[in-house]
């Protein structure tokens, strides 16, 4: 089944015609309504009228996460605040979070693209979707929710956590599609086994997974454990949320919803546009968004675009699985973590040396983050309970900064290697390259 055959199977001429029309409109709207864009375009000497072909998009300046942060909270809105009906934010890791505003029409678009994706997974009105993505400021929960409602599925908006309850509900409500992060999905399957549930008896139709780095091996594992095909969902809060690109049954790349999001791949160093099949940084432009149109957003996600005939019949371009980041951002249990945040937290504590290491592992399919900190005479106490208290205090500071529980290990002075130039502070021992 294809949700919107007209949009998803459009031929090239028609699609490009639609895209350029929408691009011209969105650039004009952004220029006229968002001071940031007016300034940027003026500085670059580009006028909205200069966009005559799709290729002309390359004349436009990029938008970065910093730009969005500087416009906090509502500076990027292109409509009066009263027309905004919903707000989400990024996890707000490095400094202020990025705010994303949606008009009624934007929510319709979001529902539409997620509906297309869920239809790719095989979901229809008869399905019961158990949505374990968090509901709240995070876009994951609501994005999936809107799409599922659009399709007409029955949604179980359970959010993350309460794992035993999740399993009980899967069994009792006979959920047929489950939406997870890959690591939570694997954890869920383990608890299911502990609870004596035969996952085969669940007769799941599909698993949808997103919001984390993943590997083909992890997909296989999810599929084996739940006896159902697993499909990736890609999205980011700045542009909309989940639903920007999704996998079809071919499981070979994600179809980008090109009529709403215009993708480019650039060389992250030279900023030059790269050709099809070349791996670089994904840059996305909102073609239809009303509330907060974003032009040429640098996602910092590394991938490649491939236009090829897909057996599913869709003509939408495909992007590869995200293979890395251009910055030092880590995703730990779905939370974006920058080493600089850990540093910021540590600097609040007297007596801590600015030498630390972050070690991320995935011992039982769930991410664990350890922060190794050098002890100092100020931190050291003769009493075990005080030392344990110090460790807890550091953990709390980091938790406040990241929103993530980490394990702090105090190590002896001068045991964390000093490096010249850029220090290697992060050891991501999770395996993403298979």
């Amino acid at each position: 089944m294809i949700w919107n055959e007209e949009a998803e199977c459009m031929d090239q001429d028609k699609r490009e015609e639609l895209q350029i029309k929408r691009l011209q409109e969105v650039v004009k709207r952004a220029y006229e309504n968002v001071p940031h864009y007016k300034n940027r375009l003026d500085q670059s000497g580009v006028k909205p009228e200069d966009i005559k072909t799709l290729k002309d998009i390359e004349k436009l300046p990029f938008t970065t996460k910093d730009d969005l942060r500087e416009s906090y909270p509502f500076g990027m809105f292109a409509v009066p605040p009263r027309d905004i009906v919903e707000i989400h934010t990024s996890s707000g890791t490095t400094g202020k979070p990025v705010v994303s505003g949606y008009t009624r029409k934007d929510l319709d678009t979001w529902s539409e693209v997620m509906a297309r994706g869920l239809t790719m997974f095989g979901a229809d009105e008869d399905d019961i979707i158990q949505n374990t993505h968090g509901y709240g400021l995070f876009t994951g929960g609501f994005g999936v929710h809107y799409g599922a409602q659009k399709v007409g599925c029955t949604v179980i908006p359970i959010s993350t956590g309460q794992t035993k309850r999740q399993i009980e509900i899967m069994e009792d409500f006979k959920s047929s599609v489950v939406i997870v992060t890959p690591s939570y999905g694997l954890y869920l399957s383990e608890v299911a086994v502990e609870e004596g549930l035969d996952t085969k008896s669940l007769k799941l139709k599909a698993i949808g997974f997103g919001a984390e780095m993943w590997t083909e091996g992890m997909r296989q594992e999810l599929q084996n454990r739940f006896h159902a095909p697993a499909y990736n969902i890609y999205g980011l809060t700045e542009i909309m949320g989940p639903g920007i690109a999704l996998e079809c049954p071919e499981q070979d790349g994600l179809h980008i919803m090109e009529d709403h999001f215009y993708p480019e791949i650039i060389d992250p160093e030279t900023h030059e546009n790269l050709g099809e099949g070349e791996t670089g940084e994904l840059v996305l432009t909102n073609l239809t968004r009303q509330g907060m149109p974003i032009i040429r957003f640098r996602t910092k996600d590394l991938t490649a675009l491939r236009r090829k005939k897909c057996s599913c019949g869709r003509t939408l371009i495909k992007m590869d699985r995200i293979t890395g980041r251009t910055d030092d951002m880590l995703k730990v249990r779905g939370v974006a973590v920058f080493p600089s945040q850990v540093e910021k937290a540590l600097l609040k504590i007297d007596g801590i040396e600015p030498h630390y290491q972050i070690i991320v592992t995935r011992p039982q399919h769930l991410d664990e983050m350890e922060v190794r900190v050098e002890a100092s005479p100020e931190l050291f106490s003769d009493e075990v309970k005080e030392l344990v208290g110090t460790k807890k205090r550091i953990e709390n500071y980091i938790h406040d900064e990241l929103g993530l529980r980490v394990n702090v290990t105090l190590v002896e002075p001068k045991t964390i290697p000093r490096s010249e130039g850029k220090a290697v502070r992060v050891f991501d021992k999770r395996v993403f390259n298979n």
């Binding site: 002890a375 100092s376 005479p377 050291f380 106490s381 003769d382 009493e383 075990v384 030392l387 344990v388 290990t409 105090l410 190590v411 002896e412 002075p413 001068k414 045991t415």
Partner: protein, 142 residues
């Protein structure tokens, strides 16, 4: 009546204790008493040595974190019940103990090192109740 004690931060990692002991050996430091408190990822090595200030510097020069604290040393008969009697004094006086360690010093004589939360109150209670507190010099000369 207070005995200086060195506390050394040790990572719970192979070879760390040995490294600390090597430093002491090279510096010619003879340990009078020792205890090791161990947590899952770190430990505290506590030492009684004849020249605590010099030893502290020696260890610090070798990148160890060292604190000097104080403990009480009590001499007791090396027989069942002696330790219980001493702890009973602290208990009766409502004095909390953070940790202790003990060793047999000579034939028929054992020594317990005590670290109450309030060391002065500990000393007072022990003295009043006739415990045999000993000085640093006495420990060093054992």
């Amino acid at each position: 009546m207070k005995i200086k004690q060195l506390s050394i931060f040790l990572e719970n990692r192979k070879g760390r204790m040995r490294k600390a002991l090597d430093v002491l050996e090279k510096g010619g430091v003879s340990i009078r008493a020792l205890s090791l408190a161990d947590m899952s990822d770190f430990g505290i090595l506590r030492l009684i040595v004849p020249d605590p200030d010099r030893t502290k510097k020696l260890l610090e020069d070798n990148d160890f974190i060292v604190k000097i604290g104080e403990v009480i040393a009590v001499r007791m008969e090396d027989e069942p019940g002696s330790l219980g009697e001493i702890l009973g004094i602290l208990d009766d006086n409502d004095i909390n103990l953070s940790y202790l360690y003990a060793f047999v010093a000579k034939e028929d004589m054992a020594i317990v090192l005590l670290h109450p939360e309030n060391i002065d109150e500990g000393i007072k209670a022990l003295e009043i109740n006739g415990a045999d507190l000993i000085t640093a010099q006495e420990i060093y000369s054992l």
